[in-house]
Structures are given as structure tokens and as C-alpha cells.
């Protein structure tokens, strides 16, 4: 069940510290796309809060990680979350802390800083509708040993993917896609990062449409 990822308290007391943050607070930048188009550094999570009010998050994984010290073991929670607006933006982040809630907050902050735009389209020759319900071409993503291949699918296919990938693709706003995975996908964090990496690669590819723009 997705929940709102907006940190209202932080947003109300937000004092921008970077140039981009100030531009956002003044209203000179009105969309997150602008920041990525102009290649500005995104260093404050509040910027994302401010520009994407409908941002949601879903928890992917909670684990207890331990560090062995001379006095025994010190355990911490490791939380992995995905944030997205169901319309072209996703990010995955992880946070570690003694308390679960603190770890969650850290993970959310991290996920917002790692947010990335994705390109949607319809690259399926079986569909050819041109609507942004799938991805425009096959993309590949990697993190650790996990390799994810996303393939455009015709309308009505749904998300043919593992549970973790399914959540991320849904948060990104992709409706139909086929996937193929290689490597140790039981490592949730790497699996999640690989999917996001694949989605990010949709903007690494230059299409004939981009020739026109340039």
C-alpha cells in the first residue's frame, strides 16, 4: 500500500541552502524535469517534496544488519524504500538506524535524492499505439550481480516482473512491460537498484526524436 512520501514538517521549516533550492522556493523552477534538463545538482530532498506533492513511497525490504564489536553485536535496521509519483519519476533509497522509524526517514531522504526521470512510450511492434504505457525500447540495468532487461510490451500485458520490480515499475508509471533478470535477485536492494538503473537508461539512449530537438 503506497503512502505519501512528503515530509510535511521538514517542508514547512525548510530554509533552502543551495542555489537550486532557492530558485525552487522563489518559484523560478516549477517542475522537477527542469532541474534534470538543465543538469542542476539536486542536493536537498525538500526540493523533491516541494515539486512533487503527490509523491508516494512503498517499503521494499526491512532487514537487521549487525556489526560485531568487542562488546558483542550491535544491530541496526536497514530499510529499503522506493518513491515515485506514478507518472515518470522513481527513486530507490536505503537507510540504516537503531530505530526503525529513523531508518525509514533516512531511506526516504536517500530515495528522494536519488530520484530520476524515466522515458515512457510504446516500443512494442504488436501495439504501435504511441501512448506512454510502456517503454520506448529495450533497456538494460545493472547493480551488483543483478542484471535486468526491460522489454516494451503491448497494451494489456501488465507488468511481467518479479515482485520487487513490479512495485518499482508501478511507481514509475509503466503499465506494460516484459522483464528478464539474471543474477542474485534475492538481494532486494540490488534488484531494486538494477530496475531503477534500467529505467534511467531510457534517457541514455538517443532516439530520432532527440535529433530533432538538438
Amino acid at each position: 500500500m503506497p503512502r505519501s512520501a512528503i515530509d510535511k514538517e521538514a517542508l514547512e521549516t525548510w530554509v533552502p541552502r543551495t542555489r537550486v533550492g532557492k530558485l525552487v522556493a522563489e518559484g523560478k523552477i516549477t517542475s522537477l524535469r527542469e532541474i534534470f534538463d538543465k543538469n542542476f545538482p539536486l542536493l536537498e530532498p525538500e526540493i523533491v517534496d516541494y515539486l512533487l506533492p503527490d509523491l508516494q513511497y512503498e517499503r521494499l525490504d526491512v532487514g537487521i544488519v549487525q556489526k560485531v564489536t568487542d562488546a558483542g553485536r550491535r544491530s541496526r535496521f536497514r530499510v529499503v524504500v522506493v518513491v515515485g509519483n506514478n507518472n515518470g519519476f522513481v527513486g530507490v533509497g536505503s537507510g540504516k538506524a537503531r530505530q526503525y522509524l529513523v531508518a525509514l526517514r533516512k531511506a526516504l531522504r536517500n530515495a528522494k535524492l536519488n530520484i530520476t526521470p524515466i522515458r515512457r512510450g510504446c516500443g512494442s511492434w504488436e501495439c504501435r499505439c504511441g501512448e506512454p504505457h510502456s517503454i520506448p525500447f529495450t533497456v538494460k540495468g545493472k547493480s551488483g550481480s543483478v542484471v535486468v532487461v526491460l522489454k516494451p510490451a503491448p497494451r494489456g500485458t501488465g507488468l511481467v516482473a518479479g515482485d520487487v520490480a513490479k512495485i518499482i515499475l508501478r511507481m514509475a508509471g509503466v503499465k506494460d512491460v516484459w522483464t528478464e533478470t539474471f543474477g542474485e535477485t534475492r538481494t532486494t536492494l540490488n534488484f531494486a537498484k538494477a530496475v531503477v538503473n534500467a529505467l534511467r537508461n531510457t534517457y541514455k539512449f538517443v532516439t530520432p526524436l532527440d535529433w530533432l530537438r538538438a
Partner: protein
């Protein structure tokens, strides 16, 4: 520049007027490179001495200082950051910043200075001047990350990745660094109209040198 004149005349007196007499450049050792030359720096090399020492072209150094000064003078002084980890660059950089009004970073460059807004010493420059791309690699990396222009002094053995404007120079020598920064300061102030076009700084280049302890 009048390069139409015959070569014999060129040998007798330099056709292009340098910022200061050629002898002063040579006395400071600005043109002395190293025994190694990277592919990037080859265009700036004048010749190779018999013992394998690469010699930089003084005219190109001169030209680049002019360009760099013109470039830097268009930025707001308080938004310029000058970095030097090297001991011999520290006094020149501080003096440079005193005259121009920019911010100096000498000694250890704290990681995150340009990229982590939650730090107390966070600074957001618009342009960075780097003394040695290898010694100041942290500053170089962070400046590249936030996407600001980078001006750097580079010797023959430096790589010039991420650098936008290379000033070829001997960045190891005490006198050489002092002279380069002195010239840069003077030229910036001249470009801005703080001092007249033919005026000098109140201090000679020797004042920019690091004093040796006896």
C-alpha cells in the same frame, strides 16, 4: 596578432607582446615541465630538451592567462573558489583571493565542501580555480559533480579530465606559482577596470611567493 612577418624577424624580437618580459617568465621557471608528458598537454609543449624534460610554450601560457582572466572577471568575485592543497600554492592563492575578493581553500580540502549542503563549511561557487588537478582531485571531482566551470593550472604530467580551461604552467615551482597567480590577479583587475590597463599591482610577484623558513 600579426603572424605575417618573416621568421627571421620573429627571432630577433617577439612579435606577440607578452604580459611581462620573457626573461621574467623564464626566470620564474614557468615554462619548465616534467619528464612525463600526457597526450592532453602535448599541444602546449614547445620542445623536448635533450635530457627528456618537456618545455612549455611561454606564448601559449601567456595567451591562456589572458583568456582565463577574461573568463574569471565575468563572474562575481565572491562566487569564485580558488583551491590549493600544495604548500607552494597556498600563499599565491590567498593573495589572489585577497585582491580579487574570492574564497580560498588552502590545505586539506574537506570532502563535501561543494556537494553537501548540511555541512557548516558548505560553499557554492560558480567557478573554481584549481592549482594542481592531481593534488586537488577532491575539489576537481566535486566541482565536476555540481557542474560548474573549472579553470586549472596544468603541468605536462597532468590529466585534464573535467577541466574546462587549461592554463599550461609549471605548477610545482614556488616562483612559478607566484608569478602565474600574480599575473592572473593583475589581468583580472585590469579586465574589471579596478586598475588601469597599464598599471601594476601594489605588490611585486615576490610577495606572492611562499617564504622559505631558514
Amino acid at each position: 596578432m600579426s603572424s605575417e612577418e618573416p621568421k627571421t624577424q620573429q627571432k630577433e624580437k617577439p612579435v606577440i607582446e607578452l604580459l611581462i618580459p620573457l626573461e621574467k617568465y623564464l626566470a620564474a621557471g614557468v615554462h619548465i615541465g616534467t619528464h612525463i608528458c600526457t597526450k592532453f598537454m602535448e599541444p602546449f609543449v614547445y620542445r623536448v630538451r635533450n635530457d627528456g624534460l618537456y618545455i612549455l610554450d611561454v606564448r601559449k601560457i601567456d595567451e591562456r592567462i589572458r583568456i582565463a582572466a577574461k573568463f574569471l572577471s565575468r563572474y562575481e568575485p565572491s562566487k569564485i573558489a580558488a583551491v590549493s592543497v600544495r604548500r607552494y600554492g597556498q600563499v599565491p592563492v590567498t593573495k589572489f583571493c585577497k585582491y580579487v575578493g574570492c574564497k580560498s581553500f588552502i590545505g586539506r580540502f574537506m570532502p563535501g565542501t561543494f556537494t553537501n549542503p548540511s555541512l557548516k563549511w558548505y560553499f557554492e561557487p560558480d567557478i573554481v580555480v584549481i592549482t594542481d588537478p592531481r593534488a586537488d582531485s577532491q575539489a576537481l571531482k566535486e566541482a565536476a559533480e555540481i557542474g560548474i566551470p573549472i579553470v586549472a593550472l596544468a603541468d605536462t604530467d597532468n590529466r585534464i579530465e573535467f577541466i574546462d580551461l587549461v592554463i599550461p604552467a609549471n605548477n610545482k615551482g614556488r616562483k612559478s606559482l607566484a608569478l602565474i597567480y600574480w599575473l592572473l590577479t593583475r589581468q583580472i583587475l585590469r579586465e574589471k577596470g579596478v586598475i588601469p590597463q597599464d598599471a601594476d599591482l601594489p605588490e611585486p610577484p615576490q610577495e606572492f611567493e611562499v617564504k622559505l623558513r631558514r
